[in-house]
Symmetry: C2
Subunit: 201 residues, 2 copies
């Protein structure tokens, strides 16, 4: 899997760094942060363990990079959905679709499970990203309530957490349950949620 003779422009530099972060994400996702060794990451890249320290000051810094890298793209896609002029129901569906998309699953899983092992300052930085994400979802829910599309007795905060919880659980189940395809799971989850939020008439 080693990249042979990659051109070395500024783009090449960034790409190589992404590869390294990707390798860390893969290994952290599989073995957990503390269960993974820097040697494991180096093996994926086909380089020596010590060479990793050209890219990271420490193993913890690698974890932060994985968490940040993974979540930044996430936040961005979410904000695009939130800004669209779709109905609240459609937005909820799209949020679930994107949140539990099986691409970059390694990053998602590492973020979900391992971010708590970040040292204090790094955890705070990641937490800030997280809050933007949660608040964007909550605004969608509140929009749905205000517009009369959703039930007015919803607890917006709890509903947000439910949406996140469902999405996260989907990510966890891919790869563990062979009969669970993302399509089947997402269809069921979206259906469930939208029915639960909408006014019954």
């Amino acid at each position: 899997m080693k990249a042979v003779a990659e051109p070395r422009g500024a783009a090449g530099v960034r790409r190589r760094l992404s590869e390294v972060i990707g390798a860390a994400a893969k290994v952290f996702a599989q073995r957990g942060y503390h269960g993974a060794s820097t040697q494991d990451i180096a093996d994926v890249l086909g380089i020596r363990q010590a060479s990793l320290y050209y890219y990271f000051d420490s193993k913890e810094a690698a974890l932060e990079a994985v968490c940040r890298d993974g979540h930044e793209a996430y936040v961005e896609r979410l904000l695009r959905i939130a800004r669209s002029d779709a109905s609240a129901s459609e937005k909820v569906a799209q949020v679930l679709l994107h949140h539990a998309a099986p691409e970059r699953l390694d990053f998602t899983l590492v973020f979900l499970r391992e971010r708590r092992f970040l040292p204090g300052p790094a955890r705070k930085r990641i937490r800030a990203l997280e809050l933007r994400y949660e608040r964007a979802i909550q605004r969608i829910v509140e929009q749905g309530i205000r517009s009369g599309e959703f039930r007015s007795d919803l607890d917006a905060r709890m509903t947000t957490l439910a949406l996140l919880g469902l999405g996260n659980s989907a990510a966890v189940w891919y790869g563990r349950e062979p009969d669970v395809t993302p399509e089947r799971m997402l269809r069921a989850y979206i259906d469930l949620l939208v029915r639960a939020l909408r006014l019954t008439h």
Copy 2:
């Protein structure tokens, strides 16, 4: 927290073992299995690190004990709910209430996050418990569908996973979100799920 001069009958023996398992659960929940050292567990108990090996053959065995201990009680309570003659909706509510009950949270969190680090044979043994649990929930959902209480177009398997996912996410959020009390969260979750499953009329 050290037990001073505990009487040593057969009951005392079992209780001491429970204390040791409880200490392991606490430490594994806090730091993760690989992030926790046997020294950490010994510190909680006020004994020496090596003394733990009187109770366990290995750290992995301790993890299995925590997972088993935690989940066995879980399965038992669930089966009692399943056998009751309550309606499917009531059962779903009770399952969520019990599943996300904040007692023995350490055991739950360790089971959710760390069981995947068990070595093959042990993981298989734990997986068997898990399947009993999932199947019991799925039977409740199917009962609700057959009786006409729930929508007939539900995907019972996905619905089961949704219920589990919601319950698990609740467990994860206790202690992370200060404004989330178990009561508030469970009320919202139960309301959401029951509305989503019931026939609308």
